[in-house]
Symmetry: D2
Amino acid sequence: MTRRVGIVGYRGYGGAEVVAILRGHRHVDTLLMEHRSDGAQESGLLHPKGPRQVPATGEAVRAEEIDIVFLATPSEVSMEVAPLMLDAGARVIDLSGAFRLRTPENYVRWYREAHTQPELLKEAVYGLPEFCRERIPGARLVANPGCYPTAANLAIRPLVDAGAIDRSAGIVCDAKSGVSGAGRKPSLKTSFCEVTDNFSAYSILNHRHVPEVLLVSGLEEREFSFTAQLLPLDRGILETIYFRAAEGASAEDLLAIFAKRYHGERFIRLYKPGHAPDLRAVARTNFCDIGVTLDRATGRAVVISAIDNLTKGAAGQAVQNMNLMLGFAESEGLL
Amino acid sequence: MTRRVGIVGYRGYGGAEVVAILRGHRHVDTLLMEHRSDGAQESGLLHPKGPRQVPATGEAVRAEEIDIVFLATPSEVSMEVAPLMLDAGARVIDLSGAFRLRTPENYVRWYREAHTQPELLKEAVYGLPEFCRERIPGARLVANPGCYPTAANLAIRPLVDAGAIDRSAGIVCDAKSGVSGAGRKPSLKTSFCEVTDNFSAYSILNHRHVPEVLLVSGLEEREFSFTAQLLPLDRGILETIYFRAAEGASAEDLLAIFAKRYHGERFIRLYKPGHAPDLRAVARTNFCDIGVTLDRATGRAVVISAIDNLTKGAAGQAVQNMNLMLGFAESEGLL
Amino acid sequence: MTRRVGIVGYRGYGGAEVVAILRGHRHVDTLLMEHRSDGAQESGLLHPKGPRQVPATGEAVRAEEIDIVFLATPSEVSMEVAPLMLDAGARVIDLSGAFRLRTPENYVRWYREAHTQPELLKEAVYGLPEFCRERIPGARLVANPGCYPTAANLAIRPLVDAGAIDRSAGIVCDAKSGVSGAGRKPSLKTSFCEVTDNFSAYSILNHRHVPEVLLVSGLEEREFSFTAQLLPLDRGILETIYFRAAEGASAEDLLAIFAKRYHGERFIRLYKPGHAPDLRAVARTNFCDIGVTLDRATGRAVVISAIDNLTKGAAGQAVQNMNLMLGFAESEGLL
Amino acid sequence: MTRRVGIVGYRGYGGAEVVAILRGHRHVDTLLMEHRSDGAQESGLLHPKGPRQVPATGEAVRAEEIDIVFLATPSEVSMEVAPLMLDAGARVIDLSGAFRLRTPENYVRWYREAHTQPELLKEAVYGLPEFCRERIPGARLVANPGCYPTAANLAIRPLVDAGAIDRSAGIVCDAKSGVSGAGRKPSLKTSFCEVTDNFSAYSILNHRHVPEVLLVSGLEEREFSFTAQLLPLDRGILETIYFRAAEGASAEDLLAIFAKRYHGERFIRLYKPGHAPDLRAVARTNFCDIGVTLDRATGRAVVISAIDNLTKGAAGQAVQNMNLMLGFAESEGLL
């Protein structure tokens, strides 16, 4: 049976990716939902065919009988639109940071703005299927995880849970992202001539995605050092994670922890010792690829985690969540 | 007074950069030295003007009265050619790894080949002017530092010397380099379609540049985790260095250590707290730019160090060494 | 009913793209066929799943009952392997230039080597579905068109057929291609540091794809000026085609010629006057996008034609041909 | 004797390049001139040293005794600021299109705005030294040529003057430019994710640089087809120029025309038949490189012309003009 889904913010990179993925999904019809007029670019194609458009209001949602609405909007817009959609009877998958943290206080600290929907914040389910799968099918509001935390948590939490990390020495996560992660709004920082042939760090030790890692992995802030960096490429995130392994552990031991934890997981791929994923391995896929290197004599360990920031880091994971919410095969529409 | 210098390996990226820099040097004439015939590409220019060519033999060196020869050759070629040049009376600046370590045993461990010139290995002076300036003017053979270790040592050693790092937690150096660092010889790993839109790690915890960092910084191997990574760009190295600062230190304290240590250093630039260098800031310059971020509550610290791998990381530093050896102003010919 | 197809040369960019496309095809099983051992790279993935491998010999083909074999090999290998496959009862789609021209003499002129299979050259059907669709279903051997000629012929032939071009002034086709068009074999010309930040012309007025354009479009060599150029990007071809329109023609007239000729064609998209395709519009699709600009006062006209060189320019069109040969929907497996 | 020059618009790519070039000029001091406050970005460097700043007013110019002011500003700003500077006694080199055409009517046609300084338009000298050198030293106001016309005119005019082109068939100039040519102001069109992996045409047959080519080359508009295109790289222009050569001409004949015309020209480099320049050959230099290909049997000819759009196409040529105006060696400060 075909279900109807809507997407607000379909002109941004994340929203456009949701639309592109849903084009290959066999069980949903997609509606583009217009939140205020934002200067649609007319296509130059003579006979463009595409999804129909409706306004992003409760009335439109009711009239169209939309099951799920994706919000690919800034967090302040998501806080405004999510209640409208929920009140009209649709369920919501929000791709912004609006509903990812657990308390308004924590939100204020990292996002530097008040949270206007504390009740929804409490209700929202964090949409990382590999760790929260049981709660997603019944959720009204899913907070789709941030791109950096997705790659980080999938690589760190199994090791923390298994006690495989000597936490006294701290964990370093050196993260690199393609430019699409910064959104589509033009700015000098994402202008071609500033980014090409360049590489730069930002939000050093202070990125707003950090609290998501702490919440999911169970690490303390003082244990976790995170730096975000901008790669001169379109899409992809690679995180190089350093820690000291618990005494006596081998690379095989660490891999076995991952293999056990992710047994049956469709979107996690592990690499043999001595191999590590690169961005091309995951581009335009919903995979998170993980590789482990360890110097047994000293316990120094490196885990490399790679995803496509627009797929597993945003739109792909959002569709994965939608599949869980609507009872479809979890990988329907995803490579 | 004009001095005559030769360059072997001028077709590689490092050697070509030496030639390009010397074109703007007011006090030297450059000779291209041919080590065996390696298929010179004929230029398409109708009236190309360029340096004269001579063979890379002792006879040629004596006949031309060459003061200094740059070797921009693989380490095994450098071990073969360096003694020829020295015997003929020239001094040598070697850009390979052949003479950077201190013992043949250490060389074998990291380079996986025997060292054929142990006496020269002992004699060679490590050419990092900011730390070895006094020994360079009198040296016969200067081992020009590796690109990664240059950026790492300039950022780490002042802090180690000042006791500003809590070494018990280890130091992480996450290094990213442009593709020119891999040399000009065609290979699948450096093919355009494999590198563009990609980012990948290599030699994880095991890069042959690690021992240079240990030798200069004084760190132990177990304290130092290093990963090299390939950026989809031509030139530049950025290293993100993580450590726990000694208790009570502020970002200003760390900057003050650098400012004091590098007072008067022409090629070191420091950034205000909250700012960090990017690759464009140092491209085609001989600068090493350094920025510090510190979370005082927890002691987590990040130092970012950026150089151009072909300039301060290779050819520029080689010319800086040449200037010291020939008594010119240290920055002659360098931006 | 599922059919079995094989692919020789699956490690090159074109062959790998065939494999990737067939992964999404509902009616074929794919076998990787090994033509001599060429040092397969072992995957680092712990549980890689992929197509099975068989040797590229007649015995293997018979044993496996393969319906169609794709040859993504150099032309000299295609001339060697194609007869083996045909003799064993498989049909062949050759992605090289081996069977695209009509006479051995013409082949020698442009490919600078003798043609060893003149009978097959005579038998081969040129696989440009939009112009040769009726002959493809029954063909034993399909010569998949070159990437440049595909974009050129789709843009030029309808206008030539309609007499819309003043041929006395000549037609210029200025073509730009991504680097994957040069194949995967490492060479200095396709090394990252030589290609990035660069743009260069090659085979000026003398590219071996020219005769394919002449054969399909009906133009004479003296009327057609073609230059190939290398873009610093992975995939995509854009051709800017200049001519003088027949007197009195408007942009709308030219578009109407295309619209009529391509009515019902699934993979041709036309743009409104004032709009032109770019490479992102066709990336990873099997579309050929075409836009027209005309200055009516002077008759100066520009047609822009864009394809993905690995899809409509190679693997996608090969699968399109396979679909026609096996009686599947022409767009099965293609976006 | 040192002269003082000012630069308005030093934060744009063209203006910043003027500042960078003048840093290596031995005979000028540079002042940064502020035209209204436009949110100067504070540098993160601890001890940045750089040129002093003054306001871009007549009073400031008089007080500082500035000899020449570079205007690297939009054309409407140049029309406003140029008279102020001239009235205060400075000479002006304008890098915008404001003073390049000869009549206000032509300016209105191509720039779609009124010309507010028709007297200055009449007075301005077109600053293409290779063709207008004698008038530049005495000029008060030099209109620095556009980037596309510089590459085009240097390649076309000698051939037109020599009658080497069969003009009846028309001349095609297919031009490709790096993104810096579009300026530094953020826009979606120059955003990294829109430009990388892309190639697109704009202003097809209608670019505002066309009239400069017609004025200098002597071609008629109906004879000249020009398309501008955006390369996914920072800097560089390559133009592929197609025409039919006058009967009987050889590639050597065309080269001889260039060689004679450009004898003694420091910044023009010619290529042997069979060779053509690429963008790397001219990057960060003031050269215009030119190569010729000709099919003698049919007269089809291709000339390839390459410059760096920010150097010979803007700032470098502006400094070349400054050198002529101030009586310095024409190449002072230029590579």
